[in-house]
Symmetry: C2
Subunit: 649 residues, 2 copies
């Protein structure tokens, strides 16, 4: 516990230092500052409205929990929800403060730009880890072990809203801006004449930063919760302490690595090298300390499970990269010469194919970690993947900051060299981000399996009878839900994008000065459309995730819920991998053509790859990542709901 | 047994009569006859080559079974394989004899054309049912119950090859012909100047007729097998006899309905009405006889399960139609105004959304039929859906015949009125075919659940332990396999279509006389490309289906195989529904635009819907339908393999 709180404290100190560093920098000239302020305002206003939509539900649930399970549990649930919101909100605030500063820094040197963008991203990474552990520590110390379930539920519940809402917002704006801007009006990316350009940049922040922050907060908390619960069941207090030690080592290692990257960027090290060295440092330091601890505790299997998690995570990341870059993407781009239909068929097949090796890696990781330390081992492999989250998320969140900086540079008419620097920084983040995605998918699968086992223990189900088809019925429904959920989120993006396209077309048609650049377009109306579209359509998917296990448990009993969790998990994992990799490959195929291959920008092949990229947007940034949360949220809901109604079933 | 063989005999008599009716008609003028002969030759040559690819594998497996399980079982396996081949081959032969005759009949009257096309389709429908029951009866009487497992395995194994091989062939030719013909060279459908036009028509026969025949033969045999096995386990001989009675009633009802449609078409009844009345007659007669039998046997639950199967099948058909026509399709077509990316996003979401109600219907059907008569009830609900297969398949197979007739009319330059009649006949079949698809999907799910239970009994697994993740690992792999399998088949279509596109482009470029219509294109080279592409790429998916359960059983044990079957079934069902309905909706959205909406043919919206339709082709005609077979083949493989190696596990 002492170590846990020390590392939290160290993290807090670093957060304050990094925040001050960022704020200390100049936000640039009047124009960059103004654009940055509009983006900030749009992003904040969206988050605030999002909160007014889901906090009433959170409080209603809390009151329900209060009466049914006691007020300590209700409080834990609210803490989980609020901390999740705080992580997203604070991280995004600093990110939106960093973008103009990064652009301005790039007018001086690439090292300076890297330093600012990375510091902004690191605040996000650290805030997520620190708040996750702080909440967990407080809930555990003040209330106890049982309340952690409710804390974890709060985190997952808010994460689903943030991911789905942010995902709809960002992709509606992106798709809308692309369809009219790039395809019809032939405007380049981030052109200030595009009415949706600010909404697009706001979307990067509410989706890729705030949404991702809440998402990873959920993964982090969920994996630790499942390990603590299984550890306690198997080894008592010791199981809890081991988990907390390991996760603290991860935070400490991340802190060291973040400081190291800061030093490297001050020394003007090549950015790619600095980020790579930082990521490797975090992993190595974490593994070395964990190894030493395991030896000290004479429990080497603890280290092995963590190592298995790390290796599987890295391998998934490499496979992900293999499928979304290089030869695979070149082949995909070449299919564009036959037209958009072939790009879609080939990209779909590519994503589906990629499920094979990744699933087998997850299966192997599960098997080996189970052999090492039972189900606790499976959970610990998941924890091992996410332990250095603070460092990995720093790199993840740095990408959108650099991306936004590029947008601001473009809109403010800064020198071309600025955009070149930010583009370079943005591209760098992608490779490391592929690793991050591998860890996210892998840990989601392992955590879901661990949570499933937790539900089994909680509901006292040792086994399921094959001669009773209730489990099978539940599994059918679970598998279907992942598809239905994806349909809801993709339809939401499609519908909101359509509204956006009509608004952009209307503005361009009615105000001729927009395209010639003499009149400023009405950015606000586009922001409002994206906001409204996201808020309206994020509720049903989230409610579905909560309602499904409840309905099945009441209607068909616990065996059906077991099936539900199996079906949803295995289908959700496959669907999430497919969507992430198809989307990633389409994105990069477009970039490959834009680099000048196959006729370059504006060619027939380019238009075909733009279609692929547009289809991939909701796949990889809305539906796909939400599935990871959906699966875990259903598992935790099942555990909580059983604890409430189990005695009457 | 007497009833079974009487109905088989009645079916045989009707087959001979219908065959003679068809052959008796004139195949038209020299041109139609010649084209019909080329199509026939291409289709036969493909099937023959297909057999040389998989029969060596069949015989190798048979020898393996002979040594491990005895030669009666090996023989049963070979009978299942050969009968499946015969059903596809004979049905297709008559279909290819019917197409030119239908076109020629349409020069006289629509009634005459309907009569010929329906007779051709009815031969297919009857052959599948009659051979299915004949094989089953012979194997059961001569060898015994255990051999039926091997008979069913043979049917499934060959079906997967026929479906995948035929599916790759037909869609490679279709996509290739469309991309160059329609999009690049602006040729209408079935234009004789398109070098791939014959290959396209051959594809309809080897895919939509022979492939579908083998597929439904498999479904039919599989559902009966699972009911017989579960029935015997629960009620002894009585369970077998009940099943055979019910299925015989279905064949008799179909025979009556087919004769009825023939009479109606002679009376020049409106074709739509004739087909609808025929389908209803089959169902009503079947249900009435089944009801009487159930009362006689004082086992009314038997009737209820069959009725549940029928109702669920009809409802799935209606939902399928709702999603692939009318308002849903109009909305999809309207999204085309925003471009191809929106069509793909909306169509994907539509298909995923459609999984919800259909899965819930399957779940309800499973639950109710289980409550009525245990797992035997679930299997009987599946049998109830497929009992009138002979009639339903008649309508299914009639569609491609009318379609082919239209192609021949176009190529031979017959009067425009002929094409109008065949188009009308073709469109009619679609509505009834939607029902048929509902029955196919529903029965596949129910049969898979029943086969799963069979495996449980065969392998003596009563329950699975939740604290052991082996089941979960198996389920992850099973879910993944359905995606990986789809990737393989879709890639196969994509690659073969690319080869086709290049060949068509080459011919048009090198021989200028082709487009002006003075030189006949080289049809044969396109046929060869489709044949080669299909044969080369159909082996891996089929081998995968056999290998996966074997590897898991040997590597991780029976619990993992239980998981494999759960994961593959629930994901396969969802994926198959998604692909079928997205594909169907895209197809109809294109047709909707071609009717003159949204600018009609050649408009921006039309081009966008053509992209959707092209993507949907491998979804709905290659990957989707193969998944149904894959899932059942894995279950039967597991049962058979356990019977061989179980004693050592």
């Amino acid at each position: 516990m002492a170590l846990l709180f020390s590392s939290i404290l160290a993290g807090l100190v670093l957060i304050i230092y990094l925040t001050l560093t960022v704020l200390d920098k100049s936000p640039g000239n009047e124009k960059t500052e103004k654009i940055s302020r509009i983006i900030q305002k749009g992003a904040r206003s969206f988050l605030m409205q999002e909160y007014t939509v889901f906090f009433p539900i959170v409080f209603a649930l809390a009151i329900l929990f209060g009466f049914s399970s006691g007020w300590t549990k209700a409080t834990a649930f609210v803490i989980g929800s609020i901390f999740s919101v705080l992580a997203g909100f604070f991280g995004m605030t600093i990110a939106t403060k960093s973008n103009a500063r990064t652009a301005w820094g790039a007018t001086r040197s690439i090292g300076e730009a890297l330093d600012i963008a990375f510091s902004g991203g690191a605040v996000m990474g650290l805030v997520v880890s620190v708040l996750g552990l702080l909440g967990l520590g407080i809930v555990y110390l003040v209330f106890g072990l049982e309340e952690i379930t409710f804390y974890s539920l709060g985190a997952s519940f808010v994460a689903l809203f943030a991911r789905v809402g942010g995902g709809i917002y960002t992709k509606a704006a992106d798709v809308g801006a692309d369809i009219v801007g790039k395809v019809e009006a032939n405007l380049p990316e981030d052109d200030p004449r595009n009415p949706a350009v600010i909404a697009d940049n706001v979307g990067d922040n509410v989706g890729d930063v705030a949404g991702m922050g809440a998402d990873l907060y959920e993964s982090y908390v969920g994996s630790i919760f499942s390990a603590i619960a299984l550890g306690y069941a198997l080894f008592g207090e010791k199981g809890i302490l081991d988990t907390l030690y390991i996760i603290s080592f991860g935070l400490l290692a991340s802190i060291i690595a973040i400081v190291f990257v800061k030093v490297l960027s001050k020394l003007n090290t090549e950015p790619a090298k600095a980020l790579r060295l930082g990521t490797i440092t975090a992993s190595v330091v974490f593994l070395v300390i964990s190894f030493a601890y395991s030896i000290m505790e004479k429990n080497l299997n603890l280290f092995w499970t963590v190592l298995v998690g790390n290796i599987v995570g890295v391998l998934i990341g490499l496979i992900t990269e293999w499928y979304t870059s290089g030869k695979k993407v070149e082949k995909l781009a070449h299919s564009a010469a036959m037209g958009p239909a072939n790009v879609i068929i080939s990209g779909t097949a590519l994503g589906m194919e990629s499920t094979a090796v990744i699933t087998i890696l997850i299966a192997l990781g599960t098997y080996v970690s189970y052999r090492l330390a039972g189900l606790y081992g499976v959970a610990m492999a998941g924890v091992g993947m996410l332990a250095t989250l603070a460092m990995n998320l720093s790199v993840d969140a740095y990408g959108p900051i650099a991306d936004n900086a590029g947008g601001i540079a473009q809109m403010a008419g800064l020198d071309k060299s600025v955009r070149e620097i930010t583009d370079k920084l943005d591209a760098l983040g992608n490779t490391t981000a592929a690793m991050g995605k591998g860890f996210a998918i892998g840990s989601a699968a392992l955590t879901a399996i661990a949570l499933f086992a937790n539900f089994g223990s909680a509901a006292h189900v040792q086994s399921i009878q094959l001669q009773d088809p209730k489990m099978f019925i539940g599994a059918l429904v679970g598998a279907m839900l992942t598809f239905f959920f994806s349909a809801l989120t993709m339809n939401a993006v499609g519908d909101a994008a359509n509204d956006m396209v009509e608004e952009i077309r209307r503005q361009i048609r009615e105000v001729p000065g927009i395209l010639s650049g003499t009149t400023e377009p009405d950015y606000d109306s586009c922001i409002k459309i994206a906001t409204k579209g996201a808020l309206k359509r994020m509720v049903t998917p989230a409610v579905l995730a909560i309602a499904a296990p409840i309905i099945l448990m009441v209607g068909l009993g616990v065996q059906a819920v077991v099936g539900l969790l199996i079906g949803a998990t295995v289908t959700g994992v496959a669907l999430a991998i497919f969507m992430a990799n198809s989307g990633g490959a389409w994105d990069n195929a477009k970039k490959y053509v834009e680099e000048g291959h196959l006729g370059g920008k504006g060619s027939f092949a380019h238009k075909a790859t733009v279609v692929g990229d547009t289809v991939g947007d909701p796949y990889k940034d809305t539906a796909g990542p939400s599935l990871n949360i959906l699966v875990k949220l259903m598992a935790i809901t099942s555990i909580v709901f059983y604890s409430i109604v189990g005695r009457w079933l």
